[in-house]
Each structure stands twice: as structure tokens, then as C-alpha cells.
Symmetry: C2
């Protein structure tokens, strides 16, 4: 019986697909993947295991249709999230000061210890939240992680969001802050960073800065960027119902982008930067995880950058779903993510 | 009604997990993922779309238990696969010559054009096939891709496999060839590369070379390495039944490793190199895809290398399952993979 079974295999060797080469009718290509029970992976810290093991985000399938409908959702979320900020500030030893830069709201984050090599450097942070969430102090966690783990000064842009303003308001606010900082600092002493919508925004800022003929910053760090809001990307499907943050391409997040876009073409590189021309970009580092709904749209940007001749690094973390690395500042993986980004900045920024 | 639904969301903001912070009983962490219908991703070449869209590998769940049981499977597969080799040699313009190096069977691959910077460089190739498959000419496709796209000379090691020999025979054969080449070339003009079991073997060779006190090669390229044969790795679960090559952690491939190990501890770093100490490794580039069953075991090696202070690059390709990049030499993604590796080698090898 075994002998017979093995003999059957003979026509389908490993790495060869003679059926493909000879087939007259191409395969449909659609794969039916059965239901699965997925445990938390073994090789992560207890803190990350807790984040990965959390149930799917409640109400992931809400679909607010206007800026006004998003407002109460955003306000409630921001109220809860901002309560975590004082503890993070204390543990990460970072001071925060509210300010306005050329009319744009921003926070200045100063770590207790600024590394000697970072004394003349500053980072511009664009927060995440689907272009509609995380106003006020709720925008700060990632900026705190970067300032604290990287020992570097950060300017976090509290950009306008619906219903206050629509595309390209968030992008304009980021560029305004960059222009303002350029008055007192060389571009190569500055870098942009952000995650999710913030990851897309820092790429959009790169495209816009190029369009405006301004000098590029010294580096960019885009974490799991919403680089394609046209629903293209393999992991939108393969990691659906597995990423416990974004959950599904039919979830809440892309609806935020639609509201922000306000009727604008979603394939415009200033909304879906993966379609932009990235020639001339500064060195860029990208971060994602194996369960990230936006893993494809992270690696697609990585390839686009490499194809454009840009020095680009990719880090993908075991088991992480979307933006899991900015949840818990006590998780060793979070420290590692930001130290890796800080090292990348150190390698590429001027002093 | 909408107002009421949005109000419910108030307690679960984006990026905040107050339920986790306050919960007395930790979540089980097990996720029930429903069945899915997964189409071929849009943003890949027609050649790659065909490879991704192929049905699951036939007989992926066979479990030969001995070297003798693997032999007819391996022979049949090799016979079919080796038929593709002459076409590849012609298209890629690479000549192949069979030889023996200090008693180890090998092939010397010489491309029609050797790039000027590669004149004094050679690469050592360790082929894939779960430590039991792809003997003879069937070992050559990846070596041909590298020689042809990279315009560089390759020595492909036709290492011993069960039932001819067991652990550590394959590793020993690789190290023997490296030692032989060191007699006529400086180590920094040499690099190791391989995919799957070959990806593991080049990492194991790095560990062994260090243990022997030999000089490290100038660089290593490990494609989707079988870096952990103890079943640890998140994408063993998340990409199961989605990776159409390896299909499942309960599939055929790890059984090949078990037969090769021949009773040896599977967690030995010379079988599961992710558990090895990678300090002192040369610059290393890793390649995987979003559907790869071994994506986790690629990114875990990447993190281990980075933690050991090694310069390590990661490339992850949209939609690719395990080793899809060594299937079709006419797929632009295959060319891109090997040109990226060639560029990495060029950056790090001496001339």
C-alpha cells in the first residue's frame, strides 16, 4: 500500500510543477483554506503573547460614513488611550510639551537622556489611526517609544483630521512642520517616522517634499504603512480574522481613509503611496509582523523602494499583528523595534 | 441605532486594550479563524501568478520513514525536475560541469558572462529538498539562477543524503568544499547560498565554520531556511494550507529532516540553526514570501542575526509561498530576488 502511494508521487516532484507547464487551461488560482485554530506562537515574550492572544478588536466592522460620525468614536478612543500616556512618559522618562508650529498643533518630546550622537537631530512623528483616530495625547505612544528607546528629540504632529479637515490636511500639516524645522536644521539631521496611517503619511511626505523641490530628510521609518487603500495586498486576505487589530479589509480602518480622502482618488500616491515614484527617497526602514493585515503593503513598499535604488531595510516580527509593537513599552520586542529604528537613523543621519 | 452602536465602541479604542490590562484571567490566546477563499494577489507577474495559483502540491502528506523509503520518491522527483535543467542552462546562459572536490560530488557552474567585479569570487551552493530530495541535476535550478542572474561562478555541492548517509553528512560535505576552496581563495571572496534545507545548511555551515575556528566567508544568503525543525514558528499554523509547496507543518518536508537527523536531537543548532549563536556571522541576506510556511523561521533568523550584531537584510515577496522564486527563470520576481542577493554579495565580498 505504501509502495503504491509513493509511486503516485513520482509525477509531482518537489520544486517542479509539470502540471503547470503542460496545462492547457490555467488554474483558477483560488485557494479554499479550511478553518483553523491558531495558538499564540511560542517564541515571543509574555507581554507580546498577551497582545497576540487578545480577542479580535471589538466593533472592528463599524463603518462610520462621515467625519461627524467618526468624531464620537475618535473622542471616546482618545479619552481611554490618553490615560495610558502618563505611565508611558514616566517609564520611558520622556517629557512632553504642547506647542504650535506655523499654525500646526504639535507636541515636543524630550527624553531625560539625549544620546550624544543625537544632540543635533530631531524626528518628526506622524501618528496612526486610520486618518481619523488618536487626536491629542492619544497620538503620543509611538512618539514616546521612539524618544525613550532612541534617546532622541521628537516633534509629534497633531495633524488635522475629519471632521475638522480632509485630504490633504494631514499631509500638509506634516510638510508645514518639516519646512519650519528646516529653517533651523539641515535636512540630513531630520527624519520622519510613523505607523499605520502615520506610516503612509511619512511616505506621502517624502513624495510631496520631492514634488515641492525641497531637500529630503536623512531617513524615513514607516511602520506597517497603509500604503495601499485600494484593497490590493495579499495579506488583506491571508491574514484576515488573524490580525486582531485591523481584523479584515472590510473593517473600520479603510473607512477612515475613505472619509479623509473625501472623494479624492484612493489610488493617488498621496493616499496610496505604494503607487508613488520613490526614486530619490532617503534610506527607509519598514516594520511589520507575520500576522499583520498590512504585511503585504509593507513588503510591497520595500520592493518599490529597492527597485528605485533606495537603501531600504525591512523588519518583520514573529506573530505580531498590525502595530502590536506600540502597545506595551515593557515588551522587549517593542524596545527592539525602536532600537533598530534608532540604529538605522544613527547610521544615516548627519550629526 | 447607529449612535447606540458607536457608543459601544467607546470602551475599546484603537491601539488600546484596557481589557488586557485589567483582566484577571489571561485570554486563552487561541484564535478560531474561519475558512477563507483566497484569490491570487493582483500585484504579481503573470508567471508568478501561475505559480501562486497552482493547487496544493499532490501527496503533500506522505510520510516516508526511512532513507530507503525516500529513495524512490527522490529519484522520481529528480528525474522530472532534472528535465527542466537544460532549458534553464540555455536561457540563463550558464555552463555546468560535474566534478569531485576532496571526495565530495559537486557541479561547477560558469555563466557566459562573469561580471568584472566577480572575477575573483565564487559562491558555494547548498540545494534544497528537505535533506532527502533533489539529487544530481535536480539540485541545480537555484544554482543556475544565481550564476545566470548574478553573473558569478558557483560551486553547487551535491551533498550526500539518506539513504547514502545521514546527519551530519550534508553539512560535512559543504564544509569540505569550503575548506578546499579556501586553499586557493581568500574567505572574503567566497559566499554561501541556498534555499529551504539549503538555507538551513548554509547557516549550519556558518555555525560549524565558527566552531572549527576557520575564517568566515564574506557573506551568506539563506532563502526561506528550514531553520527550526522542532515545529516552532507562527506561520507553520497561519500559512498552513495556503503555502502550496510545503502545505502544512504535518506535511512531507519535516519528515525528510527527521530521517536525515537519524535520531539526533532536532533542536541541535546544526539541525535547527535558529537556536545557534550567530555572533561573528558575516553579512547575511534572507528571502521569503507572505505565504511562506517558513516565513516565521526566516524572520526569526533575521532577528537572531540582528540581535547578534550581524548586518542582515530581509526580503519578503508579495504572495510567494515556500521557494516560489526558484521555479520559473522567466518570472521577473525571480530575477529580482537573485539580483538583490548578487548586489548584497557585491557590497560585502572582497574583489
Amino acid at each position: 500500500m505504501r509502495r503504491h502511494r509513493l509511486a503516485l508521487l513520482a509525477v509531482v516532484p518537489f520544486f517542479a510543477t509539470p502540471d503547470l507547464a503542460q496545462s492547457q487551461t490555467p488554474p483558477s488560482g483560488v485557494l479554499e483554506v479550511p478553518a483553523k485554530t491558531i495558538p499564540v506562537p511560542g517564541d515571543v515574550s509574555p507581554q507580546l503573547a498577551k497582545i497576540i492572544g487578545a480577542p479580535l478588536r471589538s466593533n472592528w466592522d463599524i463603518h462610520p460614513k462621515t467625519g461627524e460620525e467618526w468624531k464620537p468614536v475618535a473622542d471616546a478612543g482618545a479619552a481611554t488611550l490618553s490615560k495610558l500616556v502618563p505611565g508611558m512618559m514616566e517609564r520611558l522618562k520622556v517629557k512632553v510639551e504642547k506647542t504650535t508650529i506655523d499654525g500646526v498643533r504639535a507636541f515636543i518630546l524630550t527624553p531625560e537622556t539625549i544620546a550624544p550622537e543625537n544632540r543635533n537631530r530631531q524626528l518628526i512623528h506622524m501618528h496612526g489611526g486610520c486618518y481619523v483616530l488618536n487626536s491629542g495625547e492619544a497620538s503620543l505612544p509611538e512618539a514616546l517609544f521612539m524618544a525613550g528607546f532612541g534617546h532622541i528629540k521628537v516633534v509629534s504632529v497633531e495633524y488635522r483630521m475629519p471632521p475638522e479637515a480632509y485630504f490633504p490636511a494631514a499631509l500638509d500639516d506634516g510638510v508645514t512642520v518639516y519646512k519650519a524645522l528646516l529653517k533651523s536644521m539641515p535636512p540630513k539631521n531630520l527624519a520622519f517616522f510613523g505607523t499605520s496611517a502615520g506610516g503612509a503619511l511619512v511616505l506621502e511626505m517624502g513624495l510631496k517634499v520631492k514634488e515641492l523641490g525641497l531637500p529630503m530628510p536623512g531617513a524615513i521609518a514607516a511602520g506597517t504603512p497603509m500604503s495601499d487603500v485600494t484593497k490590493v495586498g495579499d495579506t488583506f486576505k491571508t491574514n484576515a480574522m488573524l490580525d486582531n487589530v485591523l481584523v479584515s479589509p472590510d473593517g473600520f480602518c479603510d473607512d477612515g481613509a475613505i472619509v479623509y480622502a473625501n472623494g479624492h482618488d484612493m489610488k493617488d500616491p498621496l493616499l496610496s503611496p505604494v503607487y508613488g515614484d520613490m526614486h530619490g527617497f532617503p534610506p527607509t526602514i519598514l516594520t511589520s509582523g507575520t500576522r499583520d493585515l498590512l504585511l503585504s503593503n509593507t513588503v510591497r513598499v520595500h520592493r518599490k523602494l529597492r527597485q528605485a535604488g533606495v537603501e531600504a531595510a525591512l523588519q518583520v516580527y514573529e506573530g505580531m499583528a498590525h502595530a502590536h509593537y506600540i502597545r506595551d513599552d515593557t515588551a522587549p520586542e517593542s524596545k527592539e523595534v525602536f532600537e533598530e529604528i534608532a540604529g538605522f537613523f544613527d547610521k544615516h543621519l548627519d550629526k
